[in-house]
């Protein structure tokens, strides 16, 4: 696969993810509305919101400094960077050599770090509370992601995501091994925590005392809010892609044929929809946990990850 077509593939994947991310959020909201027998906004509603926000005037707090205006760009770019490292459609990743799963994890943490600082800058109590709680959850989720990912990496003999997927494709029996299942559940819990989904944080509400992610972005408006919302959507897409392609690798194209890529895109969208449905069902049934019960949830996921790594070690 020549370098040029490789970079074209990478760009294509990036654009595809950019496009799909808001739709994924819209799909989940729509599914939840339908399940609560409401008509719900159409799936493409988020796209309209983004366009509206880009066109609107930007209001910035008098207390905020240049960091407040710089942070959204960093958050957006770091999340986009993670997408470049993920095996979305085809396996021999063009930018595989640039970074592995650790780089991905830490890029996400960079985004959270700057968002937390931006939350503090306007000086409102909500921003401070959101940022403090976000960093607490991020700090506790960090070990789980790392250990869960290493469980897979150990099986595949390399921490580069492309090789993990290739390895899983080569030996499908392994994908159903206990190590993978435990890692998948651990990663699923962490996804809910990191992207601010229900049991940890309620994305739909603006009730000051309960929101974590929303509290930090309370002060943003106009194009900054668009960037931050898009980055949040991208982050959700990243976690869904990780869960989809790492644990259910079928459908990822191995060679660069037009037909294979089309097939890969379709299976990828189908998998995302299925995961969205699972999350939507999960959120309608679950109530929000008290903040100080969240660490117990995260420690459960950490134990699962530890078991995953020992299981994958035993199977070697």
């Amino acid at each position: 696969m020549s370098a040029a077509s490789g970079y074209a593939l990478a760009l294509g994947q990036a654009l595809l993810c950019l496009a799909l991310a808001p739709g994924l959020i819209g799909l989940i909201r729509w599914l939840k509305a339908r399940m609560q027998n409401r008509r719900g906004a159409p799936v493409w509603q988020p796209y309209l919101e983004l366009r509206k926000l880009l066109a609107k005037e930007t209001v910035v707090s008098t207390n905020a400094s240049w960091l407040f205006r710089f942070a959204p760009y960093v958050v957006f770019t770091s999340t986009l960077g993670v997408v470049l490292l993920l095996p979305v459609l085809a396996v021999p990743l063009p930018l595989g050599a640039a970074g592995d799963l650790l780089v991905a994890v830490y890029l996400l943490l960079l985004g959270t770090f700057f968002l937390a600082l931006a939350g503090l800058d306007p000086g409102s109590p909500f921003g401070g509370m959101g940022s403090s709680r976000e960093m607490t959850v991020a700090a506790l989720a960090e070990p789980t992601i790392a250990v869960a990912m290493f469980a897979l990496a150990l099986g595949a003999g390399s921490t580069n995501l492309g090789e993990i997927v290739a390895r899983a494709m080569a030996r499908p029996a392994e994908a159903v091994s206990p190590g993978y299942l435990l890692a998948f559940t651990a990663l699923f819990i962490v996804t809910l925590a990191e992207t601010g989904r229900l049991p940890v944080d309620n994305p739909a509400t603006h009730l000051e005392l309960t929101m974590i992610h929303e509290a930090m972005v309370l002060e943003y408006s106009g194009r900054y809010l668009a960037l931050v919302e898009w980055a949040a959507a991208l982050k959700l897409l990243v976690f869904f892609t990780l869960m989809a392609n790492l644990f259910v690798p079928w459908g990822v194209a191995v060679q660069l044929g037009a037909g294979a890529l089309l097939l890969a895109t379709l299976t990828y969208v189908a998998k995302l929809a299925a995961l969205a449905a699972v999350v939507a069902v999960f959120e309608t049934r679950m109530a929000k946990l008290r903040l100080f019960r969240v660490p117990e949830l995260l420690s459960v996921s950490f134990v699962l990850a530890l078991l995953a790594i020992t299981a994958s070690f035993l199977s070697r």
Binding site: A55, E57, T58, V59, V60, S61, T62, N63, S65, L67, Y73, T77, S78, G81, L95, A97, A98, G99, D100, L102, V103, Y106, L107, L109, L110, F113, A116, L117, L120, D121, G123, S124, P125, F126, M129, S131, S132, R133, M135, A138, A139, L140, A141, E142, P143, A146, V147, F150, A153, S158, T159, N160, E208, G222, R223, L227, P295, A305, F313, R316
Partner: protein
Amino acid sequence: MAATLLAVMVGAYGAGAAAALLGGGHPAGRALSTAGAVAGAGAGLLLGSQVLAGGPVWTFAAPDVVGLAGGILLRLDALGAFFLVLVGMVAAPAALYGVGYSTQYAGRYSLRGLGAALNLFLLATSLVPLADNVVTFLLAWEGMSLASYFLVLTDHDEPETVGAGNWYLGMTQVGLAFLLAAFLGLGAAAPSLDFADLRVAAAGSTGAARGAVFALALVGFGSKAGLIPLHVWLPRAHPAAPSHVSALMSGVMIKLGVYGLLRVGLDLLGGGPPWWGVLLIVLGAGSAVLGVLYALMEDDIKRLLAYSSVENVGMIILGVGAGFLFQALAMPGPAALALAAALYHTLNHAAFKGLLFLAAGSVLHATGTRNMNRHGGLIRRLPWTGPCFLLGAVAIAGLPPLNGFFSEWLLFQSLLPGIGVSSPVVAVLMVLALGMLALTAGLAASAFAKAFGITFLALPRSAGAAEAHESPLSMRVGMVGLAAACVGLALGALPVLATTGAVAAGLLGPSAEPPTFALGLSFRTPAGLARMSPAAVIVGLVGGVALTWLVVRALASRRPLRFADTWGCGRVGQSPRMEYTATAYAEPLRRVFSAVYRPTEDVTVDHHPESRYFVQSIAYRASILPWFERYLYEPLLAWVARGGRRALALQSGSVHAYLAYVVGALVILLGVLMVTGAP
């Protein structure tokens, strides 16, 4: 060439000290002494890099000085050169920074003493990695401890500073006692105390003796490096010292504890059984997690940085421990990688911790207080210090694209081969170490989000913070210098890794060859586990931000920004008292880790005289349980004090008791004579 560089280094530091002593009072003298320090640091840097770049190992002997114990003997090999470079890198900016910073002491304390002690401290610290026999090592080591003790005591009008000084000197002396025992125990049978003879003696000695020497050296060097539970002096001494001295102590001096461990553990003893590595990993992981946990709870910015030094030393020792363990399990490739990662993180930590302490010093210089709950809104008032602190915070939290991330990435990669190892104990240990390392990284990010956010962002919480003004040029130059070092270390990750790999291989003995990083745009770790390209990550991020900025500017509306009040549910006016404080920021984590902290809180609310429902003021005091002081040091000190009292009881004042002691001694000795029986 090397000999002249050494002469220049020693001469420059000496001249600097002399200039400070003679003319320390007025500016010319202080400028001269700083010039001496900077020249010395530069010469050290050149000397180290010359040997690191493959220059010959050279020795220098002055047998007549201190001849009784073997004379002065210096030898510069790769390991020594690496640490010499580390000293030079932090010393030059810190010395420059000192010029501006020490003006605040002008009236109160003798600048003469400060300048002289600083130069002597740098000279001794530069000579420690060069020493090649026990007495030179001890002279340099004690010179370093003594000079830094007097530097810590610069601000001796504060009662807590003298207390910190006592703790610091006490711990260094206990550490020295252990070092003496280790070196002399090792060299008991050796003809002389030169390291060459010690290597021969170590090869010949029994496993138990080598284990004992290693344990003693671990305590001695661990107390200097700040490993748990020997770290208690660090959060007391560093905040009390002037900030450029704290930068040197945290950035450079505690690294020489790591140097000592490598020199004794790998070079002199030539590695040992697996339990050495396991012990180091356990201590390292413990120090890392507990260090960052305590850092989170600090409201004093310099104490936070001091505890974060404990955390980073824990991570370094984790890497060193992995190196020891793999060498014991005959896995030279992963061992070299682990040591290379540890050394690279040592260098990075020296750079960004130095930067953070200098920036914290600038904040202290501007606002007059170290309490973060009094700071705020400094990013506008200190346009140079703010970005420097942010850069340092991003680096120390291990976030891309800076150097902290690359060395932590390498530390993770160096632990991975351990999981595949056959013996279950090692595998489980590695998994737990991995988990704790990841937890530390997360908590570090949270700690430094708090440190930067509360200190620099939002509104100023006190008059001092409100009227803060940027620090003088010399302090800014110092900070920017170290910031450049951080960025340089990130960009130059590959060549730096090559040198640390060579140093690590040198340490592991002739058999091990340096870890082959496929050094192109990206490098592949020897175990083939991971590929990562620092350049791609940096270019990707910086380029990405610029690209996004351009695209958004094109897409978004042309209308200018509008400024308005922060949203406050409709209230009028925003006051700093509404903001989150450092204590509040860390409160969720205090609840989560309450088992470790055992927090105690007392809240006193005094109500309005007329009605119970209106509150006049609320006083909230929270404190966490200082485990090590309460359950290790206080009982120890109490036991020694009791011994002291019992010894003093002997001096009861009565002549008859004294005479009874004399006669008693006579009778007892006669009894001993009777029992042993004359031959």
